[in-house]
């Protein structure tokens, strides 16, 4: 044998021996498989356990989410509610008679609403107002309870209320939060002829149906208009504000309204005062008020108008030529949005024929509202008032108003 063949044979023998000894036999392979099976089973068990834990966690998350959702939905509907509105006015008016100029700033109204739901059907609502910032002896303002009534929802479309509530007449009397109307000051017709804000005590029934018809019927306390003095037969002075009010001669009010077409609002109100002074034989007896108001939106354009008329019986009011008192206004407006809020511009022409000589006038207004957010408004307007009677020409004025208002 050649020497190199001998060496090769020795190397092969040296390496082949250990390799053959490390190869598992069938028993060892079976043991390995068994071991792996146990590990797989263990992993499967762990996976099943993890799945179960995950499912349980999912259930808990769902349950927590459902609970938190239900709490979040229920929370705003708490039984007692607070709201409010307010408005600050600046007036700069130049009269023909300069002694009647007006330049003043006034926090005209600060109002808080309080309401409470006693049940799904029975609720309470109130409106407490501080006018002109300061009330008390010698102060210009008043603290007034303007609404305080119990409402009972007889059905989803029929409700009854009793207490002290607003008269269902015109636009402003029931909806007078500053962001809802144009002009720093409320319109003159719904001040002199419809004496907004006007509330009485009594009972009322309200209903509506699915075609957009609604109606109100109210039996309530009446006016007590003065028949002598500088405010004789002035309707606004007849409001007793349910403050130890005379209640010998009640009144009834009806309203029929149609709002079944979005953007359209038509309403007619009628009120009968059995004795508008509450005193028999003083020359002022029954009174009838008729008010019609309409509003129609065409896109961003709105046209709004109101007509109101009082007719009174009684020898004294007829002699004073105040037995018929009327007022009307028309108000076109245009509202548009910007990236920084919404703007609205308006014009208004009003014609007022009230009892007092200074309450017979026409007024023209032009102005703008700016809503940086829905419930806050900044206002500007220009006003010009011309009196009918020559004796009142000194009261004619023009000027501008600035205002800020809010509601929540």
């Amino acid at each position: 044998m050649k020497p190199y063949l001998y060496c090769l044979g020795m190397v092969l023998l040296a390496t082949a021996g250990p390799a053959a000894s490390q190869t598992p036999d069938i028993d060892e392979i079976w043991e390995i498989v068994q071991q792996q099976q146990r590990e797989i089973a263990d992993l499967k068990a762990r996976l099943a356990d993890a799945d179960a834990q995950l499912a349980a966690a999912d259930e808990k998350i769902e349950a927590t989410g459902d609970y938190l959702d239900s709490v979040a939905v229920a929370a705003p509907a708490s039984a007692t509610k607070i709201g409010g509105y307010g408005e600050l006015h600046y007036n700069n008016l130049n009269a023909t008679d300069s002694t009647m100029d007006s330049e003043e700033i006034d926090f005209h109204r600060f109002v808080l609403f309080f309401g409470h739901d006693f049940s799904d059907r029975v609720s309470f609502f109130s409106e407490l107002e501080l006018e002109h910032s300061l009330a008390g002896d010698g102060a210009p303002g008043e603290v007034e309870l303007e609404q305080a009534y119990i409402n009972y929802a007889l059905t989803d479309s029929l409700s009854a209320k009793t207490g002290l509530f607003l008269m269902p007449i015109g636009f402003i009397n029931e909806t007078h939060e500053p962001p809802t109307f144009y002009g720093v000051e409320r319109n003159a017709v719904e001040n002199v002829i419809v004496p907004s804000t006007w509330w009485e005590a009594g009972a009322a029934l309200s209903g509506h149906n699915e075609i957009g018809l609604s109606w109100d019927v109210a039996l309530h306390s009446g006016l007590a208009m003065p028949t002598t003095g500088s405010s004789a037969f002035r309707i606004r002075s007849g409001r007793q504000k349910v403050a130890e009010a005379m209640a010998s001669d009640p009144a009834v009010t009806f309203r029929l309204r149609y709002s079944g077409i979005p953007g359209l609002d038509l309403a007619a109100s009628y009120q009968y005062q059995s004795d508008a002074s509450q005193i028999a034989g003083d020359g002022l007896d029954a009174g009838n008020l008729f008010v019609a108001n309409a509003s129609y939106d065409i896109g961003a354009f709105r046209l709004k108008g109101l007509y109101s008329q009082w007719n009174f019986n009684g020898f004294a009011i007829e002699a004073a030529d105040a037995d018929k008192q009327t007022g009307w206004y028309v108000e076109p407006s245009y509202r548009f949005g910007t990236t920084k809020g919404e703007w609205g511009v308006y014009a208004r022409h009003a014609d007022v024929d009230g009892a007092r000589t200074q309450d017979k006038f026409t007024q023209f207004e032009l102005g703008a509202n700016y809503w940086p957010v829905d419930n806050v408004v900044l206002k500007f307007d220009f006003r010009q008032r011309d009196h009918e009677l020559a004796s009142e020409v000194g009261r004619d004025f023009d000027g501008f108003d600035l205002g800020v208002g809010y509601q929540f």
Binding site: G65, V73, P76, G212, V252, G260, P262, D265, Y272, A280
Partner: protein, 187 residues
Amino acid sequence: MIQANRKNLGLVLRIALLTVFTTAAIAQSSAYQSKPEFLEQSLGTTQPQSDVIWFDDELRAVATRILGHPPGTMRMRYWFDGSRTAWIVDEIGKEKPITLGIVIQNGEIERMSVLQFRESRGWEIKYPFFTEQFDGVRLDKNDKLNERIDGITGATLSVRAATRSANLALVLSEHIRQPIQETIAAP
């Protein structure tokens, strides 16, 4: 004169009472749709498939911009059948939550229903003459409604609540629309 006034008042009171009883007799107790009824009418079953969409930071910011306040919940549940989704949104008008059901298909409102109205003003919005305005409304390029919703005098806050709810439902439906379409497309 006094007797005449009292006679007139008596007549008016009789008319008032007649009106009251007539009103009571013809007043309709409008039955709201329950949630299962709404889902059945919208998706053909009272128990359709449902899922939730969680308000992560980004989606919460979008919802806050639309509503004017953060969403009152951490997530919103929706129900679906194919590409049609149904949403139930609670949104406060003036004081109390209004519950609205909104059905959306292919990015367009198919139907809006008021499932519960609890406010004292703005009852008009619960009827079809108001809600039908939302039929066919989509999002514009700014994620706002592409059509103007006419208001109701004296019901501004309720109208706004309905409009905000529709806007939110449309935005959320767009958020999930792609995955749903992918699911439908999958074999």
